[in-house]
Each structure stands twice: as structure tokens, then as C-alpha cells.
């Protein structure tokens, strides 16, 4: 679909769709997850624990259960789905946009938790120093808090991306299996296995396996190096 011949092997379409989905989801999660994580790191509301639990739910919830509720929520009669139809005239379920929204819920804890940990470990005294040096709270956030939480951001980005890339159950429930629209790599692998086309299944699986290994390896190396400074 991108017209690059070298990547035009069977299954390249689903692979690119997955990369796009994971990329967009990661960007959205960093934008949405950062203020949420900052708020969780600093709030003293008694609802904090309840909200933290809610955010963490996708870690333990079976993807099919989550997918089922998201299907209802995003469907044309669901709260989000109905609003989407009114605004855009299209349905969310079985569309790429629907997948992005579903993935954001599904991968939320993988973005919020590393960020929240990083923000909680920040030395508030550094922020005080920044304010007294003339930085507005927003300026101090970007010039001191963000760079000092770089490790948290890296972990959030890597984990959200990798976790979304391997998504299966939620996608199947919400997005189905539409080539070029919702057929992501994990579903393509499932298809190939169903058709007993093991060679193709291997090719795609190895790509995911190597990718998962390399991202984790890089993350561990970077984290260790950061620890030693």
C-alpha cells in the first residue's frame, strides 16, 4: 500500500497497518497520558486509587471482555459511537478510527504508569528552583520536568507502541478483519494459520518476535545506562 517494492511481500499490508495503528495510538497516548499521569502523581483526592485501578484494568482484563464493552461503547448506539456518527457520519466500529480509540483504552496503562512513576520520582525542589528563576509552571514542566522524566517517556512510548502492535483480541472484537482497514498483523497471522499457510505465518511472526525482542533489549540497555548516571 506504500508502493515500496521491497516491502511488498504477502502480509506487508497488515504489518504497515499495525505500525500505523501503533504509531498513532502512541502519539495520542503520550498527549492524553501525560496530563493524566501528572495529575495522578500530584493529586490528593481520595478517588486517586479508584482512578489508578481503572487505568490499570486493561493489564488484567481479558482482551475479549474489553473488546466486547468497547464494541458496545463505540457501536452506532453506544455513547461514543453515536456521537461519532453525528459528527462524522461514519460508524466507529469496523473502522481504523475505531481501532485507534480502542487501542488507546487498551494500551492506556502502558503509557500512564511509566509516566506517573517518573513524575512521582521528580525532585519538586528542582521545579521550585525553576519557578524562582522566572519559569511559568508550563515552562518549568517542559524545560525541567519533561527532560528529567525522559526515561519515563521512553518507557511509555516503547511499551505503548509494542503493546498496541501485538493487539489481537480487542481488534478482532471492535475492528473485525477488513483488509487494508482493520486487518492488522496479529489477525493476518491468525488468518494464515487458519489457511494452513505456515510459511507466511512464520514470516510475519518472526518480524513481531524480533521486533519485540529488540525493543525490550534497547529499553533495558537504556534504562541501565540511565540508572548508572
Amino acid at each position: 500500500m506504500f508502493g515500496i517494492d521491497a516491502l511488498n511481500f504477502p502480509g506487508s499490508g497488515p504489518l504497515w497497518l499495525s505500525v500505523q495503528l501503533a504509531g498513532i495510538t502512541t502519539v495520542v497516548l503520550v498527549i492524553v497520558g501525560t496530563p493524566l499521569a501528572w495529575w495522578l502523581a500530584h493529586t490528593s483526592t481520595r478517588w486517586k486509587t479508584v482512578i489508578e485501578t481503572t487505568v490499570a484494568l486493561p493489564i488484567v482484563l481479558p482482551p475479549t471482555v474489553m473488546g466486547f464493552y468497547l464494541l458496545i461503547l463505540l457501536g452506532p448506539y453506544g455513547a461514543i459511537g453515536r456521537w461519532w456518527v453525528e459528527v462524522t457520519g461514519e460508524t466507529l466500529t469496523f473502522s481504523f478510527s475505531g481501532l485507534v480509540i480502542a487501542s488507546c483504552f487498551y494500551s492506556l496503562p502502558f503509557a500512564v504508569q511509566p509516566l506517573q512513576n517518573a513524575f512521582e520520582a521528580l525532585d519538586r525542589r528542582n521545579l521550585e528552583a525553576a519557578w524562582t528563576l522566572g519559569a511559568t509552571p508550563v515552562d518549568a514542566f517542559f524545560s525541567v520536568a519533561v527532560p528529567q522524566s525522559a526515561r519515563g517517556f521512553l518507557n511509555a512510548i516503547v511499551l505503548s507502541f509494542a503493546h498496541t502492535l501485538g493487539e489481537f483480541g480487542v481488534v478482532l472484537m471492535v475492528g473485525g478483519n477488513i483488509p487494508g482497514k482493520t486487518r492488522v498483523i496479529s489477525i493476518a497471522i491468525y488468518d494464515q494459520v487458519e489457511m494452513l499457510n505456515y510459511a507466511n505465518a512464520h514470516r510475519l511472526s518472526v518480524i513481531l518476535l524480533v521486533f519485540a525482542f529488540l525493543t525490550l533489549l534497547v529499553m533495558f540497555i537504556v534504562n541501565r545506562r540511565w540508572q548508572n548516571r
Binding site: E128, A129, A130, A135, V144
Partner: protein
């Protein structure tokens, strides 16, 4: 403090905490170094944090040289970043993700109004940082890091410097390393400084004015010479009690290597060479180094024997009394035993001779 019409900082703060309350109403001149002295828990740091806007007092009014920075009654309170202050904390608080140069530039870049601002090179030079600019904060010694922190605060072009025991976290050697820089700061820059300390030596060396705090209240405030000789403050009557006197260099005895320092009550002679002829400097005389006699001792190794009048006698705890003496228009204190006081039959108004064992030149 009686500051008349000259530029000053007015601060009035009240604040309630579970185990602490602050209630102060204070005027501080917009010049020189004002020491805020007291034991830990006396509220010194809280005062600085209120001035910086880092605390939310229940009542607050802050007027800096006529500009209202805070007046809670009128719902006025500048945000922290809008207050032109340079805050030097107890620990350097350098940004570890930036090198020394970028740390120094942090406040500089965020200060648009550059009036009475200092040049980058001038401050780097003043604090001796030129060789450190490319280092990471983790590669600095404690003393170096604190010097960077002071420079960073100065480059903010502050109307008011706030220094919270900047030397407390350093050992003796590091302190001695920083002190000359603070002296230079005092001598070369006109920015007023509020200097919090619990160390009377530091205060005597650096400060022109002194505020004494206890339990969130101000016990005394004024020129350091007059506050130090108030005998009603137990905080100032301990081992380290003493006085500060301004002197002028009158001469140097090259043969004996002694400097003569004139003051209103006569002349001090101190070993070593200090300043040029006519230079103004100040000396500190510890009350423990002062003894009194009725008649001029005929043979004594003590160089400094000065006539003075007993102004006040104040018993302090145990066997000791504090005596305040007037020599010319300067005052000094003696910390002597109650028995000596009785044997000499000292009374207010008596003329005595003051023997001073050591005069420390700042």
C-alpha cells in the same frame, strides 16, 4: 528598623501550620546584606519562602521598594515567576540534565526586563566559574555547585537576593572557599540580600543588618552593631556572643607587622596587614575575649586596652554576666563571671579599661 524614606522591603506575614506559626511585621533596607538569624524551627526559611511566593500565608503583604508584590487584603499576589528574586537554596538545586552554562542561562533567558542586570561574563568571573562551564552538575564539588547556584540566581537580575543558609551543607574548607566570593558579591554588586543563617560567625562576617527570630516571631531587627549588643536576647548571649565595630585603617607598623585601626573609641592594633590606608573595614570582637579592669595594667601582653563606660550589666544563666560597654560611640560586650563583676563592684556608668585579647578583622 528605622530606615526613614530610603528604599526598603516591607514584609508582613502570618501563617499557621499544625506545629508552627509565623507572625512577622518587618522592614528591611534595600541595601547590603540583612541577616535573618535564629535557631532551626524559628521560621527563617519560611520567611524567605513567603517572599518568593513558595508558601501560601494566611495573611501576606510584601512591598519591595514601593512595588506591591503581595497584598492579600487587596487580592494581589505576584506569581513566583513574576517576582524578581534570586533564590539560593541550602542545597544547590542545579538542573542535572543541563550543564553549568545552560544552568546559568536558565534564569537569564527568562528575564526580559534586563534593568540592573549583570553580564554573563561579569558573574562568571566574579564567582570563578569560567573553567566549569561545560561540566555536568554531577561533576562539581559541593562548593563549586553552590557557586554555580549563586551565579544562576544573580543572572536572573533580581531586585532581591534570598539566600537560605547557602553554606550550611558545606564543610569548613568548602565554606572558606565560598566566603571570599560572598564578600566580593557584597562589595561589588548593589543587589540587596536576605541571608538566612543560624551561624553567628557567618552573620557577623557578612551582614550589615540583622533580624533575630524565635518561634516564628521577630525578636529584634536593626543595624548589626546595635542588635548584637542588645543584652536581652539569650540567643545572642552564648559562647559566640560578640560585637561588630566599623574601623578605618590608620597605619601599618612594618617592623612589628601590625595594622592600626581607628574607631570612635580609640585604636585597635591587629597583627597582620589589612587594607590600604583609609580603607573601611569591620572587626568582630567576641565577648569571651574581652576582660575588664579598673586600673591600667602596667605589664600586659594584651595590645588593645581601651577606656570605656559600663552601660548595662545583664546576668545570664549560671556563673556569667554580660556587660555592655560604650567606647566613643561604639558598643562592645564582655562575657565575664559574676564573681569578677562583684569583686570589681561594676555598676552602670563606671569608667573601666577594656582589655581585648583578639580582634578579628573581616
Amino acid at each position: 528598623m528605622n530606615t526613614g524614606n530610603e528604599a526598603r522591603v516591607d514584609l508582613r506575614y502570618a501563617l499557621e501550620r499544625a506545629d508552627f506559626s509565623l507572625d512577622i511585621d518587618l522592614q528591611v533596607p534595600m541595601r547590603g546584606i540583612t541577616g535573618i538569624f535564629g535557631e532551626s524551627g524559628s521560621g527563617k526559611t519560611t520567611v524567605l519562602r513567603c517572599v518568593a511566593g513558595l508558601e501560601r500565608p494566611s495573611l501576606g503583604k510584601l512591598v519591595v521598594d514601593g512595588e506591591v508584590w503581595q497584598d492579600q487584603a487587596a487580592n494581589v499576589s505576584l506569581a513566583i515567576h513574576e517576582r524578581r528574586i534570586g533564590y539560593v537554596f541550602q542545597e544547590p538545586r542545579l538542573f542535572w540534565h543541563l550543564n553549568v552554562r545552560r544552568n546559568l542561562e536558565y534564569g537569564l533567558r527568562r528575564t526580559r526586563a534586563r534593568q540592573n542586570g549583570f553580564e554573563f561574563d561579569q558573574i562568571v568571573d566574579l564567582l570563578g566559574l569560567d573553567k566549569l562551564l561545560h561540566r555536568a552538575p554531577a561533576e562539581l564539588s559541593g562548593g563549586e555547585a553552590q557557586r554555580v547556584a549563586i551565579a544562576r540566581a544573580l543572572l536572573r537580575a533580581p531586585r532581591l537576593m534570598l539566600m537560605d543558609e547557602p553554606l550550611a551543607a558545606l564543610d569548613r574548607t568548602r565554606k572558606d572557599e565560598i566566603m571570599p566570593f560572598l564578600d566580593r558579591l557584597h562589595a561589588q554588586l548593589s543587589v540587596p540580600i536576605l541571608y538566612v543563617s543560624h551561624n553567628i560567625e557567618e552573620v557577623c562576617r557578612l551582614c550589615d543588618h540583622l533580624v533575630v527570630m524565635e518561634g516564628g516571631r521577630v525578636l529584634a531587627a536593626g543595624e548589626i552593631q546595635s542588635v548584637l549588643v542588645r543584652l536581652d536576647l539569650p540567643l545572642l548571649a552564648g559562647e559566640d556572643a560578640g560585637s561588630v565595630i566599623r574601623c578605618t585603617v590608620k597605619g601599618y607598623d612594618a617592623e612589628y607587622e601590625l595594622t592600626q585601626l581607628g574607631f570612635s573609641g580609640g585604636m585597635f592594633v591587629v597583627p597582620g596587614r589589612f587594607g590600604e590606608l583609609g580603607a573601611e573595614l569591620r572587626v568582630r570582637i567576641r565577648a569571651n575575649d574581652v576582660s575588664l579592669c579598673r586600673d591600667r595594667p602596667r605589664h600586659s601582653t594584651i595590645l588593645n586596652i581601651i577606656p570605656a563606660t559600663v552601660e548595662r550589666i545583664q546576668p545570664i544563666e549560671g556563673p556569667l554576666v554580660m556587660v555592655r560597654l560604650l567606647a566613643g560611640s561604639d558598643r562592645l560586650t564582655a562575657r565575664i563571671t559574676r564573681r569578677s563583676c562583684d569583686e570589681l563592684d561594676l555598676k552602670k556608668g563606671d569608667e573601666v579599661l577594656v582589655q581585648i585579647k583578639a580582634v578579628a578583622v573581616r
